[in-house]
Structure formats: structure tokens, C-alpha cells
Subunit: 111 residues, 6 copies
């Protein structure tokens, strides 16, 4: 079964929410991301848009990297952010662009 990639952030919170971390492994990455009806690349598009829209910069940081691994290109991330500016408002898009800049510069979110 697929597992979530190793993550120091996730290790930090394992003592606090152990079952939630188990669900992250077994349910989110083991089941949901593996469902056949939508490719991982398309799930990354959906996840990025959801995180931009709900203004979750900490998790967007992780999922920009994951999207690149799933075959989303940097040019497509540019388009997603630009598109979302109009549907989620300028501030959400601006923060998303900075999060992408962080990831491209190798800066991981501490949480």
C-alpha cells in the first residue's frame, strides 16, 4: 500500500495525533490518492486549487512539491495561481505565489 512520503513535519506531530497520522498514511495516501478515477496529476491540480482557495499556506508548501513529483509543471502551477486570483481573490493568489517561490528556493514550511 502506498504511504505518505517521509516528512519531518509529520513526525513532529505523530506523538500528538498518532491516529490522524495513521489515517494520513493509510487513508489519504493509501486509499484516496490511489483511487483510479482521477490521475495523481489531476488530484494535484485539485489539491492545489483547494489549498489556494482555503488559504492553507503550510500545506500548500508540501503539495507544490508533491504536484511537481506528480507531473504538474511549474508553468502549470503559474497558470493555476493566475486562474485562482480571479476565483479566490488576489490575496490568496499572492500568498500562493510566495509559497511556490519558497518551494522553488528549497524552503520547507516548518508546519
Amino acid at each position: 500500500m502506498a504511504r505518505a512520503p517521509d516528512s519531518p513535519k509529520r513526525e513532529r506531530i505523530t506523538p500528538i495525533v498518532p491516529d490522524l497520522v495513521n489515517y494520513t498514511h493509510d487513508l489519504i495516501y493509501g486509499e484516496i490518492w490511489e483511487r483510479p478515477g482521477l490521475s495523481k496529476r489531476d488530484r494535484s491540480l485539485v489539491t492545489l486549487a483547494a489549498l489556494i482557495a482555503s488559504y492553507r499556506p503550510d500545506q500548500l508548501n508540501s503539495h507544490v512539491g508533491r504536484a511537481l513529483n506528480n507531473g504538474v509543471t511549474k508553468a502549470e502551477i503559474t497558470e493555476i495561481i493566475t486562474h485562482c486570483a480571479f476565483y479566490c481573490g488576489w490575496p490568496a493568489a499572492m500568498t500562493a505565489a510566495h509559497v511556490a517561490a519558497d518551494v522553488y528556493e528549497g524552503k520547507m514550511s516548518p508546519r
Copy 2:
């Protein structure tokens, strides 16, 4: 130039926000959706996820129909809603499923 599809909802608000409706035609549908870096089908994935995440049932109603026109299948909409349950919370996904049911039954949102 591409224009937004005719919409009685949009006509209703044209006297109230005429320039915003012009931007909807010329900027959102004429420019943003026509940008070459992301297909219309992918833009629909992004838009649906953003609308589910930010709980905008009125606009989700219109965009489910638009997504179908852009080549997103009903099976993919099922996956998007199921995926978003975990990233946006159960309530946002439940409402999205009802909005999809409305659209499939031909019920258009009044706004």
C-alpha cells in the same frame, strides 16, 4: 474573442454591476479561460476544487455544467468531490454533491 455563455443569472445583475459583467465576458472568459498554459478541462478541475473549498454553491452550480462541457466526466466530478471531502471537510463535499445532483436534475441556481 470568447464570451461567457448566455446566462439569465448574469443578465439579472447586469444593471447593478455592468462593468463587472463586462469583466466577466472580456477578462474572465475572454482572457483567463483562453490562456494556453492550461486546458479548459484542467481549468474546470481547478475551478470546481476552488468553489468546493470556498463553499460557493451558487457558482458551483454553473461550473459543474461548464465542466461537463469542457470534457470533465461525471465520474471525475465524483472523484473531485470525494477527494475534496478530506481536504476541505465533509460538509463542503456534501453540499457539493447536492449541487451536482441539482445540476444533473436540471435545477439551475437562481443566483
Copy 3:
């Protein structure tokens, strides 16, 4: 002391949250809206923007009417909605325009 204007909506919930309705009268309308540092017209600008941004159509309905009473013009409401489209996203602005249309047509929100 200023009180909130009579409202059938508020009467409906008085048996459920009586002290919250008292706070609405004595604190929100009796104190906050009466503070001298910002005019009622300016407070209406702030309140409309906050309600559009947080997508609260029920309360936006009441406050569009209140804004008109406080001297905000319909042309200014048009500008506020158009401005907010870019800062809060298109869907929030579209719903706000429909709420304004409801108010101008005399349709009060049931809640």
C-alpha cells in the same frame, strides 16, 4: 440609546438566543455603530465589505438596506462589489450582486 431597527428575522430568533439579541441591540447597535471615530456611512462600507468577503448573504441582505439608509448610494454599492471581486474572488462578488438585486426588488432574506 440607539436600538437595532425592528426586524421580523430578529424577532424569530429572540426566544432561541435572547441575550444575543440583547447584545445586538445594546452592544452592536447601541454602542459599536454609535462610536464617534467613524461615520455610520463609513461603517456601512466596512460592514458590506466584511460580509461580501466572508460570504454571508443572509446578513448582507439586511446591511445593503441599512447602507442605503446610512447614505451609501447604489452607485457606491456597485463600486464596492466590483472592487471586492478582485480582493475576494468573483464568486463572492456575483453572490453579492444578486443579494443587492434582491434588496432593490424588495426581497428580504428569511434569515
Copy 4:
């Protein structure tokens, strides 16, 4: 295993998101609500507050009834809404009070 209570709303969307409805039964009601670390009554407090805060009136409707079944009193629901007015803003609390009024009058949300 505990299952979600029968619900016409849930039946309506079963053809659209069948696996999500299965998760609602097996995971949400079968596992999460049954976890021993927090009583069902306390889980209802948490769920009501989360739904008020995130402005999800459709699901709040169902969960007010569920909270009453879990031993939360109407007087406590009054307190929760009043408390949340200050932490979530007046509009979220006002809508919550109307949703409670709907439930007490037997009006179920269509979605």
C-alpha cells in the same frame, strides 16, 4: 458497527458519490464518532462549533438534531451560538440561530 442514521438527504446523493456515502457510514459514524476519547455529547459540541465557524448551514441543520440526541440541551445550544458570536462573528451566529429555529420547527434542510 454504528451507522449513520437514515437520511433522505444522504440517499439523494448516494448515486453521485457512493464511496463518500460509504465513508460517511463506516468511517465518520462507524469509527470517528465511536472513538472512546471524547463522549458523543462532547463531539457534538465540537461539531456544532466547527459548523457555525465555517458557516455550513446545511450540515448544521442535521447536527443540531443530532446534538439533541447526544444529550446537548437547547439551553446549551443557545450558549454555544452566543459564545460563537464573539469568536466567529455576529453573522455566523445569527445564521446559526435561524438554523436552530428551523430544526426546532421541524424544518429539515433539503441538502
Copy 5:
């Protein structure tokens, strides 16, 4: 009358919003938290859920500590966060777990 506990964060903003800080003392802590209809422990459950749901990490930081003082156990905070993952989405719960980790490690939010 009960007052808010001393807080360097609150002192910092007293010159900027003096009356809001007064309301925090006299209204929020002096009145709302002292209302008899719901115990302080239950109000902490409600407040934590509201803060997780609306993604307010700065204030969640303060209220995790306050919840512990009000008799909520760390095991219950674990359950609240795990429960909220499903109602508020995974990202809100992940951030909440990191905020709890901060508090347990003695790291206070600067704002």
C-alpha cells in the same frame, strides 16, 4: 469580575485598539466566559473547534493553553483535532496539531 489573564501579546496591541482590549477583559472574559449555561471546560471545547475550523493559528495557540487550564486534557485535544480533520479538512487539523506541539513545547505565538 473575571479578567483576561495577563498577556504580552495583548499588551502590545493595547495602544492600537484600547477599547477592543477593554472589551476583551470586560465582555469576553468578564461576561461571556462567565455565563453559567456552559462550563468553562465546555466553552474551551467550543472555542478550540471554532478556531481550528476558521484556521486562526495565532489565537489557537493561546486557547490550547487556556483549555488545559480549564480542565481539557491533552488526550481530549488529540480527539478534537482528529475529529475536526473530517469536518474542517485535513490541512486545518494538521496546522492545529503543530500549534498544539508549539504550546506543549512552550512556544507562544508572537501575535
Copy 6:
């Protein structure tokens, strides 16, 4: 045509979302803020309220400074934050007060 003021934050993301930065210059600052129907001072009131309500501290940081340039006084910013506490919830107002403190102390948000 009016342009956005120079900003190191905006320069940082120009390589990532170049067209979005162009829209910021030409559309947001060149067109929207220049529309005659609402003064720049009033647009700042609206923008501040929208940013407080939607909890966008990064962008609020920039717009507090811009509001001061547009003629909004510090006393009025105090009133806006205090007013918004009741419409957007205490946590949003508290964070806004800290952002204002940051700006008054010359601390610019890194994003």
C-alpha cells in the same frame, strides 16, 4: 496610467507569476483603484475590511500602509478593527491589530 508602488515582495514573485503581476499593475492599480465611483480613501476602507474578514495578514500588512497614504487615519484603522471584531470574530480582529502594530513599527511582511 497608475502603477502599483514598487514592492520587493512583488518583485520576488514576478518570475513565477509574471502575468499576474502585470494584472496587478495594469488592472488592479491601473484600472480598479482608479475608478471614479469611490474615492481611494473609501476603497482602502473596503479593502482593509475585506482583508480582515478573510484573514489575509500578509496582504493586510501592505494595505495598512497604503490606507495611511490614501488618507485613512490611524484612529480610523482602530475603529475598523474594533468594528470588525463583532462582524468577523475576535480572532480576526486580534490578528489585524498585530498586523497594524507591525506596520506602525516598520515591519513589512515577507510575503
